[in-house]
């Protein structure tokens, strides 16, 4: 893929390149809960809390 040499490169979170394994596990659980419920506000609040507890903002 020629995109490799020209594109911006960003880390994949769910596969462990962006953050701690603990944070990634919490993130995956939040998204799996969100899928059936679809509550945007509650899910965003959970993601914010996970970030605060793991070095994000």
């Amino acid at each position: 893929m020629k995109d490799w040499s020209t594109d911006s490169i960003v880390p994949s979170f769910v596969h462990g390149a962006a953050a701690t394994e603990k944070w990634a596990t919490v993130y995956k659980d939040i998204l799996n809960t969100f899928a059936p419920k679809g509550d945007v506000a509650a899910t965003q609040a959970s993601l914010e809390q996970a970030a605060r507890e793991n070095g994000g903002a």
Binding site: S8, T20, N32, A35, G38, E48
Partner: protein
């Protein structure tokens, strides 16, 4: 990387990076990703791209549609497929990481490369309206995915594409090998809508023990 406690157990590979020329030939963004606490601890042996959308060429051709470049286009074409009894977006969520994988590609599309990177280093707040926007897109996907997704792995879900029953799928570029193993050639790929020009990689990265 942090879980390996590299400063205690691993050899820093900075001199190898210099002598082998990795610091010259690897893309700058990748070099940044590979560093932990200012040192290189491993050499990527394979690189995969995460933000890929796979699609069934025949279904798009039969319906005179192009693969969507934006989420607005995605939902328009998804309505067409749905009205014809075709699953617009196939997904398998059995292993627990696939929903998170899909969502991170949507975050990349709404935040862009810099904004998305900032989520993991504190520069972008998770309260950002663009995170809300990504969650909203993710929520809106649900009427367009296969109802049996929680019982399927990603490759089992991809069978819908091979059978001409599903139109699109978001998965890393390892799906390419799976299609080949099924002798299926009727697929195409492009970046996930809204992520052209961004490469979300993951890699297998061997390290070297101090002992």
């Amino acid at each position: 990387m942090e879980k390996y406690d590299p400063e205690q157990y691993l050899m820093p590979l900075d001199s190898l990076y210099e002598s082998a020329g990795f610091t010259k030939v690897f893309p700058k963004d990748l070099l940044t990703l590979l560093q932990y606490k200012g040192h290189y601890w491993g050499v990527p042996s394979s690189i995969h791209r995460a933000n890929v959308m796979w699609y069934n060429k025949k279904l798009f051709a039969d319906n005179n549609h192009q693969p969507p470049k934006s989420w607005d286009e995605f939902f328009r074409v998804a309505d067409v497929f749905k009205s014809k009894g075709i699953i617009p977006l196939v997904i398998g969520t059995k292993e627990g990481w696939e929903a998170g994988h899909t969502f991170e590609t949507i975050l990349i599309s709404t935040l862009g490369a810099d904004g998305y990177r900032g989520l993991w280093n504190g520069a972008t707040k998770w309260s950002d309206p663009k995170v809300t926007q990504a969650l909203d897109i993710f929520r809106r996907l649900s009427p367009y995915v296969n109802s049996d997704h929680s019982a399927l792995t990603w490759d089992q879900a991809l069978q819908y594409l091979v059978d001409n029953k599903g139109a699109m799928h978001i998965m890393g570029d390892w799906a390419d090998g799976w299609f080949t193993s099924k002798s299926f050639a009727g697929y195409g790929w492009q970046p996930v809508p809204g992520t052209a020009g961004i490469y979300a990689p993951l890699s297998s990265t061997p390290t070297f023990s101090r002992r």
